[in-house]
């Protein structure tokens, strides 16, 4: 109601008009300001990264300082491994909880689950790293891809849960009723009708979660750690793309910086492509349902 008082004063029309223009301009300008760093980062990374990208980068092991060539094949494979482990752990939990929260949401417990999921998504990733360290590394007495995957999996849970819940809630009740009225059981209705109808959006959510996990560095620093060679198993220290980028970036060697830029470019390209796919999927979904 105080808002209307602003209008109660018709004087200074000219001043108000000037303010109007200034504020609107500022708002447009801030939109531009926000894109500048984005464009800058995208172009800089692309320019710096693409020049050091070659086949060796994807197929060779790192070379020691001073030796030219080499790649970070082990880090790429390691990332795939760790993110794969994380997905195998985090996606089922996230998906099933999302189903619970959406389909059985009348229960009080569902609200608790929602709240706790929010809490989990707010926990800084470095703390998840500490947790995985305490639970796995300390017990097994060594760093491992397993510990890294565990940490990434936990980080993925809230995203997957939330997206699953939101996407399932978009499916109209009438479809559930239609299915149940045919004598189809609740669980088949959920899995074969509701989940399938929402699958585009849910897959999108998973991709986003995977993309984000692939770029996570902090929780891997002291879980999967790093490795200059191929790791022997998921139970041993494993190189990963982001940790490798970090180690190279803070090193004093220009050639390592080059490798780091190339790595950063790969990560950004991954994010970009996944976001694009996501856009396309959600767009299709909307045009289909309208």
């Amino acid at each position: 109601m105080e808002a209307y008082e602003i209008l109660a004063n018709p004087k200074n029309l000219k001043r108000r008009k000037i303010i109007n223009i200034v504020m609107l301009t500022l708002s447009v300008v801030s939109g531009l300001v926000a894109i500048i760093p984005l464009i800058y980062i995208l172009f800089y990374t692309t320019a710096a990264g693409i020049s050091s990208l070659n086949l060796d980068f994807f197929t060779q092991l790192p070379k020691p300082v001073g030796e030219p060539g080499g790649g970070i094949a082990n880090a790429i494979v390691g990332s795939v491994e760790i993110v794969g482990l994380g997905s195998a752990f985090g996606i089922p939990i996230g998906l099933m909880s999302g189903i619970y929260v959406s389909e059985f949401s009348k229960s009080f417990f569902a609200n608790i689950v929602k709240f706790v999921t929010d809490v989990l998504s707010g926990i800084p990733s470095i703390i998840i790293g500490i947790f995985a360290y305490g639970v796995i590394v300390l017990q097994t007495k060594h760093f491992s891809a397993l510990a890294g995957g565990f940490a990434l999996g936990i980080l993925m849970i809230p995203t997957v849960t939330r997206i699953t819940e939101e996407m399932l809630k978009l499916v109209p009740i009438s479809l559930r009723e239609a299915s149940l009225a045919l004598g189809i059981s609740r669980w088949k209705t959920t899995l074969k009708i509701v989940l399938r109808t929402a699958s585009g959006g849910i897959i999108t959510g998973m991709l986003l979660a995977i993309a984000r996990a692939a770029g996570e560095t902090a929780p891997l620093l002291f879980t999967s750690f790093g490795n200059s060679f191929w790791s022997e198993s998921i139970d041993s220290p494993t190189a990963s793309l982001p940790v490798q980028i970090f180690n190279y970036a803070i090193s004093p060697y220009a050639e390592w910086h080059q490798k780091a830029w190339a790595g950063a470019f790969v990560l950004i390209a991954l994010v970009f492509i996944i976001s694009l796919i996501v856009r396309l999927i959600t767009k299709n979904k909307f045009s289909q349902s309208v």
Partner: protein
């Protein structure tokens, strides 16, 4: 023309279904398409004829409470088998609420409580689980709601595919039968594999009816099935109902008096959550016992 066609086709299919109860007809080979399918029907039919009651649905003091406010109150009604019963009444009087009580659809409403007794096909409703009851008591909704991810074909067999694990070989035949019964076959027989969403609203609704028929329920609940449709689609659906009522019990909610008069054998009038009157449609529309009913039918309100 469409209706004529419908009638012919439906006769054809009705015989097929009758066949199961009348073994003497079975020498006619045209109608024996698959033993298993027929036998299942036979079992169903036999069981219910065994119980030998002409009553499909009977309720005693049926009430449904939403947050302790009644949506319907103490409804006592006996609905005859193999007939069409129309439920009429002003908006909000509890027609949908009554209908949804008959196959546990209120399960989906978190704050709904159903009290009283419901007897379905001679058995208390609590003797069924929620899946069994819905196989016996099918439902068609106001807005067509085909499954968007499925083709026309898959929509029709969805109830079977996701439930009983019928032999795949029977699907073609069931799809055809059901679509013929719902009067959609001619329009879609060449494009069964396309998405159900590419059909028109009226076609979608008939698809939903076909989907319900494919499960072979005994009672079919319809909640304003034609209110979103054009007159031609409506006529098609009414024709289907007319032909199918020999083998199915229909309970239809409608806001359209003419429709009630056209398709139903019995009419129940609800007002403010109570069942006011229930008798032969001709009686209700010509000399209603209750004043309230008369007022509604003559358009004094509602």
């Amino acid at each position: 023309m469409a209706n004529e066609f419908l009638n012919n086709i439906n006769e054809f299919n009705l015989k097929e279904k009758y066949l199961s109860t009348n073994p003497e007809d079975s020498e006619n080979p045209v109608f024996i398409k698959s033993e298993e399918y027929v036998n299942k029907d036979a079992a169903v039919q036999e069981k219910s004829s065994h119980e030998k009651s002409a009553i499909a649905v009977s309720t005693t003091n049926l009430s449904v409470w939403f947050n302790d406010k009644p949506g319907i109150e103490n409804v006592n009604i006996n609905i005859k088998k193999d007939s069409v019963t129309a439920i009429i009444g002003p908006s909000g009087c509890g027609k949908s609420t009554f209908l949804r009580a008959l196959n546990f659809m209120h399960d989906l409403t978190p704050n709904a409580v159903v009290t009283g007794e419901i007897n379905i096909l001679g058995k208390d409703i609590t003797e069924y689980n929620s899946i069994d009851i819905r196989k016996k008591v099918g439902m068609v909704f106001q807005k067509p709601n085909p499954f968007p991810t499925m083709s026309i074909y898959d929509n029709v067999i969805s109830g079977l595919k996701l439930n009983w694990g019928h032999k795949k070989g029977l699907y073609d035949e069931i799809v055809e039968t059901s679509l013929v019964q719902s009067g959609l076959w001619n329009e879609v027989k060449d494009r069964l594999k396309i998405s159900a969403y590419s059909l028109s609203g009226g076609q979608q609704q008939r698809l939903c009816i076909a989907r319900t028929l494919a499960v072979k329920p005994e009672i079919i609940l319809m909640d304003e099935p034609t209110s979103a449709l054009d007159p031609i689609s409506t006529a098609g659906i009414e024709a289907s109902i007319h032909d199918l009522k020999k083998i199915y019990t229909f309970i239809i909610v409608t806001h359209n008096m003419q429709q009630a008069a056209r398709v139903s054998d019995f009419t129940a009038y609800f007002y403010l959550g109570k069942l006011i009157e229930h008798s032969k449609t001709s009686t209700v529309f010509t000399k209603p016992k209750e004043k309230l009913t008369e007022e509604y039918i003559t358009g004094k309100f509602g």
